[in-house]
């Protein structure tokens, strides 16, 4: 006899689900599989993992909680979601940590087997939230998840530990059922993953199905939902994380330019994920070098650029601090270099796994002397691909180090990414000197023909790039000030001023390649929200919400933070108030005030967390009055 179909699905436009449990509970994997199912359901989506800095914090504690949040919908999705509709809490600590993120009236599914006295002690809870009334504002689904998993696998030969490890599949099955997601992608994944371990494969498949069946049979679950396919631009999509996109963008840059990528890096959270990804792609000729320290990492990259390769290094703020002197050398020697900074909370070691936009001023000014360089900030996980590609293009075209400012929110977050056609990538040509020309040679003091390494291209002011190994173009570069054409050491007063100004003018020229700055929402009026980098999703959602209520607010998201776009001032002129949200204590706003000599309104959040759209909505409404 089959159970009655109590849950006729309700169609909803979007939903946010958060899987949370102990570090060992497999929450990242569960979230990834739910993401994949949502992708196959053709929803737009954005995800954000939230995991502890400790590798294996003691089980059951609040600092060992690992979470994975997913926002998916039939509508455009800009962020991993402000408020959670469904929290699946695998233990008491996960419930304690994430309860406040659930919207009032939202659903919390808890594993009741993980609420014994000991679990409450580990989570530092004085009373049991399941019985003390603290969950009154939520719809609570109590599931003895561990017991059900053990019952389902009672007949197997697996150990208790192996059995318990598959309980996340029960949770996944239930969540898939609740949102009417396809189960087949997860089943395929299990079959592939455990192809060599049939007992574990069958156990996971069985528990996954039990999870979906549980949803059908238990009457405790009052609601089931469907989320229709989103109206997305035709094309082939994949879910991509920012760190992955950065790596692929670099590989693409190497592929399209013909330069071999040299990636020098020292392990640091959260930048290491780029190294992990790019080191897989050695069949593209990518060289990865795990250096002895941050300084060696950037030094090796500059050495690679000197050889005529594409030198790249990635790190986080503390690592950039160590690389500073060498980045200055790249400014002085005018060699291409891409420095990726996966920003995290600072100062010092700060909040290693939490995002912040605290390193903009470091990127702009954190070197001795006059040492400007272009700064580019991707605005979404998928945009990281294009930003990495563009950073490499600017670096080689203008012979300059380029700083790319991402953060852990972009790096770990993922979105549905429309895969570009290779033909649609911007052309990437590199100019090497291949032999003596009239323009690049002169007679030296001894009457010999000498190459002039600091002769410049007129369109970019970039100096010429000659690879060691090229006959007759032997030359020396270094950190001492250069004579304008010969590159010889020069302490001449006027030459120094000229060189400082030339290097600055060269970096300013980078702006000549920018596309027109896009203004979304209102193109003029009361208020413009001006953000940069990873805050795009929250700002976009906030401005859409405000405009839906009848206001006319505009927004601009800067990808090119330095030099600023040439058309930005004219856009600023069209608005009365300009609101600048940043995940720092006010850094872009200093550059803006300095550049445009007018006032801007700050909105600063420095909590190691991205903006929620509602926070930006509140700030906009506050200014509009």
């Amino acid at each position: 006899m089959s159970a009655p179909d109590t849950a006729a699905p309700t169609s909803i436009p979007e939903a946010t689900v958060l899987f949370a449990g102990d570090s060992g509970d497999g929450m990242q994997l569960t979230g990834s599989q739910f993401t994949l199912a949502s992708a196959y359901a053709h929803n737009d989506l954005a995800t954000l993992p939230d995991y502890p800095a400790e590798i294996r914090a003691p089980a059951g504690t609040t600092y060992g909680v690992s979470g994975f949040q997913l926002h998916f919908g039939a509508v455009d999705i800009h962020t991993p979601g402000d408020k959670v509709d469904l929290l699946i809490a695998m233990n008491a600590a996960a419930l304690k940590v994430h309860k406040h993120r659930v919207r009032t009236g939202g659903t919390i599914a808890v594993n009741t087997d993980a609420f014994a006295d000991r679990d409450l002690d580990l989570a530092d809870l004085d009373s049991n939230p399941l019985t003390d009334g603290s969950l009154a504002d939520y719809e609570v689904i109590e599931i003895p998840l561990t017991t059900l998993t053990r019952d389902a696998l009672a007949d197997t030969s697996l150990s208790k530990k192996q059995v318990d490890r598959s309980k996340n599949m029960f949770a996944l099955g239930l969540a898939l059922w609740m949102y009417s997601r396809p189960v087949a992608p997860a089943e395929d994944w299990i079959r592939q993953k455990f192809a060599d371990q049939p007992a574990i494969r069958d156990a996971n498949l069985h528990v996954l199905r039990k999870g979906t069946h549980y949803g059908e049979t238990i009457e405790a679950i009052g609601h089931r939902y469907t989320v229709d396919a989103a109206a997305m631009k035709p094309g082939t999509y994949r879910a991509i994380r920012g760190a992955q996109a950065l790596a692929l963008g670099l590989v693409a840059a190497g592929d399209q330019s013909g330069l071999d990528v040299f990636y020098g890096s020292y392990p640091i959270t959260p930048a290491s994920d780029i190294l992990h990804e790019i080191s897989k792609h050695k069949n593209f000729g990518v060289i990865t070098f795990q250096a002895e320290d941050e300084i060696a990492a950037v030094g090796s990259a500059v050495g690679a650029s000197f050889s005529g390769n594409l030198g790249v290094c990635a790190t986080s703020g503390p690592g950039v601090a160590l690389k500073t002197e060498t980045i200055g050398l790249a400014v002085m020697t005018e060699l291409p270099l891409v420095v990726i900074n996966m920003q995290r909370g600072g100062p010092s070691t700060g909040l290693p796994t939490k995002p912040e936009q605290g390193d903009l001023l470091q990127a702009l000014y954190g070197r001795n002397g006059e040492a400007p360089l272009p700064v580019i900030a991707p605005t979404s996980p998928g945009d990281c691909f294009y930003a990495a590609y563009e950073a490499a293009r600017i670096a080689t075209k203008y012979m300059t180090p380029v700083m790319l400012l991402a953060d852990g929110y972009l790096g770990n977050g993922s979105e549905a990414w429309r895969i570009p056609s290779i033909d649609d990538l911007p052309p990437f040509d590199v100019r090497f000197e291949t032999g003596p020309t009239d323009r690049t040679m002169h007679k030296d003091d001894d009457g010999n023909d000498q190459f002039l390494p600091y002769v410049r291209h007129e369109d970019t002011l970039a100096r010429v790039w000659a690879r060691p190994g090229t006959p007759k173009l032997e030359h020396r570069i270094g950190g001492l000030e250069k004579e304008a054409r010969t590159g010889n050491v020069s302490y001449d007063a006027e030459n120094h001023q000229r060189m400082v100004e030339t290097r600055a003018a060269k970096v300013e020229r980078v702006a000549q390649d920018y596309p027109p700055t896009a203004v979304h929402g209102a193109t003029e009026g009361e208020l413009l929200v001006l953000g940069w980098g990873s805050t795009k999703g929250a700002i976009e959602e906030a401005v859409e919400r405000v405009n839906e209520s009848g206001r006319r607010v505009g927004r601009v998201q800067l990808r090119h933070v330095f030099p600023l776009p040439r058309d930005l001032e004219e856009i600023l002129d069209r608005f009365e108030t300009i609101l600048v949200p940043e995940l720092n204590n006010g850094q872009l706003i200093r550059l803006l005030r300095d550049t445009y000599l007018r006032d801007f309104q700050p909105l600063n959040k420095i909590q190691g967390r991205p903006f929620r759209a509602e926070e930006i909505v509140a700030a906009i409404e506050n200014h509009l009055g």
Binding site: L36, A39, H42, P185, A229, K233, G235, T236, Y237, R238, A239, L248, V251, A252, D255, D260, F262, G264, K282, N283, F284, G285, I287, A291, E292, D293, I295, A296, G299, S300, V302, G303, A304, F306, S307, G308, N309, T326, T333, I419, P420, I422, D444, D446, N448, Q450, R467, P468, G469, P471, K472, E474, H475, R476, I477, G478, G479, L480, N488, V489
Partner: protein, 343 residues
């Protein structure tokens, strides 16, 4: 004799002059660096290397100016970091002939970390360490090779820092080639540079170099005529360890070295240790002669072993992965993993 050791005296028809840049050499008159520069410029034509493939990378300090005086490719990099730049350069283009020029402060103080890692990785470069036991360019502070008690501007009451022995550091870092020579013996210096160049891997060559301004005579006991024969021992592979014009030698006494008088009835040359440059233990024994004043200071190729270079291994791996997976195509890479299509 390793290939290229003897030189053919002509290379590609290049001469010393082809390696001299038009820049005025600005070291102090009388500096030992002149002899080293001149020797390098004389050696290069004999190595049979194409000039355009030669790159000199330096750090900061007096030695740091070296690349400017060479008419080759070169980079005057960051204090102590030349090995890092050289690593990226050499691994990116293995055809290049990369020389690292450094000093005792540059290589062993601020750059100690990079030196040991370049050595253990066996980056195929020649590392010329100009050791003058003093900071010259910053005008005379004690360096990590200065002797204990050294009185300098920064240590008016004497240094209380124990000094490094560069050769022992290199051996400790598993260098595949360790040699020592001196600025006042250009012939020996030239032979050692050739040997270092012929070695595939990181060739560490310490050069005792006189700073006549801030530390004049620091090595005179080893380099000057009246004491050199008694205080300097020139090792040769396969030859007994003798010095003082063959009147003295070193023998193994248990696990220690002992100086013996070959003119006495008690000892003869057959009692002397026969040197084997491929014997790591012997190299450690000789390399540690630094703190014992009663033993002569060894010069020459102290250790050499053949082992794969980092660059070779990197490129072998690139080739192996490419052979296994096929040359990557960007389209396939971007479409890898789970994809879905919206029409």
């Amino acid at each position: 004799m390793p290939p290229g050791f003897s030189g053919d005296g002509g290379g590609n028809g290049l001469s010393r002059k082809d390696f001299q840049s038009d820049q005025d050499v600005r070291w102090c008159p009388g500096c030992g660096d002149y002899a080293i520069l001149s020797t390098v410029q004389r050696v290069l034509p004999e190595l049979g290397v194409d000039k355009e493939n030669v790159v000199f990378i330096s750090g900061i300090g007096c030695s740091g100016r070296f690349p400017y005086y060479m008419d080759t490719y070169g980079m005057h990099s960051i204090h102590g970091r030349a090995p890092a730049f050289a690593t990226g350069l050499k691994v990116s283009n293995p055809a290049l002939d990369v020389w690292i020029v450094t000093g005792d402060g540059d290589a062993l103080s601020i750059g100690g970390n990079h030196l040991i890692h370049a050595l253990r990785r066996n980056i195929d470069t020649q590392i010329l360490l100009f050791n003058n036991k003093i900071y010259g360019l910053t005008k005379g502070q004690y360096s990590p090779t200065s002797e204990l008690g050294k009185v300098t501007k920064s240590t008016p009451y004497g240094s209380v820092d124990a000094p490094f022995n560069p050769v022992a550091v290199a051996l400790g870092a598993d260098a595949s080639f360790v040699g020592r020579t001196m600025d006042r013996d250009p012939k020996h210096m030239k032979a050692l540079m050739k040997a270092a160049h012929a070695h595939a891997g990181a060739s560490f060559l310490e050069i005792y170099q006189n700073c006549n301004i801030f530390n004049d005579g620091a090595f005179f006991e080893f380099t000057e005529r009246d004491t050199k024969s008694e205080r300097a021992l020139f090792v040769e592979d396969g030859q007994p360890l003798t010095y003082a014009n063959g009147t003295k030698g070193l023998r193994l006494d248990g696990l220690s070295l002992e100086a013996i008088d070959l003119e006495s009835d008690r000892w003869s040359v057959s009692d002397c240790l026969v040197y084997d440059t491929s014997d790591r233990q012997m190299a450690h024994l000789l390399g540690r002669i630094f703190w014992e004043d009663d033993l002569p200071r060894p010069f020459g190729v102290l250790y050499q072993e053949a082992r794969p270079t980092y660059g070779d291994l990197v490129h072998q791996q690139l080739e192996a992965v490419t052979e296994k997976k096929g040359a990557g195509t960007l389209h396939d890479l971007l479409h890898s993993g789970d994809t879905w299509t919206i029409d």
